[in-house]
Symmetry: C2
Subunit: 120 residues, 2 copies
């Protein structure tokens, strides 16, 4: 069973739509990197039970994303925010070097602040 990093990302968005048990097991597997055997021992269910639970959770997470596409929208936001930060840093460098405007500097700092916070 290969770990799909997409699932870890989707867990962040849609994890709360899973049952409590599914969420627990899937987080153990994807976020805490436990093995199926470790999860089975911890949750007191069979290894096959763990595997089935994770498989169902994966299918559901993928279905949510297929329907809603919100993780993709966020990923696009993040890529855009990264580029905004880069542009603001470039402006800051030009400003430092040639103009020394505190008003420009204040605003490049603010842009980076906002974009970084939104990108958390």
């Amino acid at each position: 069973m290969a770990k799909d990093l997409t699932i870890s990302y989707l867990l962040d968005f849609y994890g709360q739509m899973l049952t409590e048990k599914q969420l627990e097991v899937t987080e153990f597997y994807y976020n805490d990197d436990l093995s199926l055997a470790e999860i089975a021992a911890h949750c007191n269910i069979s290894r096959q039970g763990v595997r089935d639970s994770i498989k169902r959770a994966e299918a559901q997470l993928l279905e949510y994303e297929e329907k809603l596409g919100l993780a993709k929208r966020f990923a696009q936001m993040q890529a855009g925010l990264d580029e905004i930060i880069k542009c603001a840093q470039d402006i800051s460098i030009y400003n430092d070097k040639f103009y020394g405007s505190s008003e420009v500097e204040k605003r490049t700092v603010r842009i980076c602040e906002i974009a970084s916070k939104l990108n958390d």
Copy 2:
């Protein structure tokens, strides 16, 4: 029955999680501004049936948001992007007035472009 604008916003995020019928009825009501009687006639169900369907859909949309909070995260993104645009416009004004740097201008334009696109 008061129309709640929040619902219209949430429909955009979670509408695809509703049943096809619920989605249709709720969109008629919130997005197309049809009356319960008009929807009833169009869908060939009772006025009470329409009302119940909308009420159930509203409850579900609110529950999705309660669990996932993605609409709120997007709203924060949008507010942040608006402020980023404002900062970039201010930089552009200072640059125009005092420095005339094409490199700075190019980047303020790009920041506004990205932020506006993400805010669509």
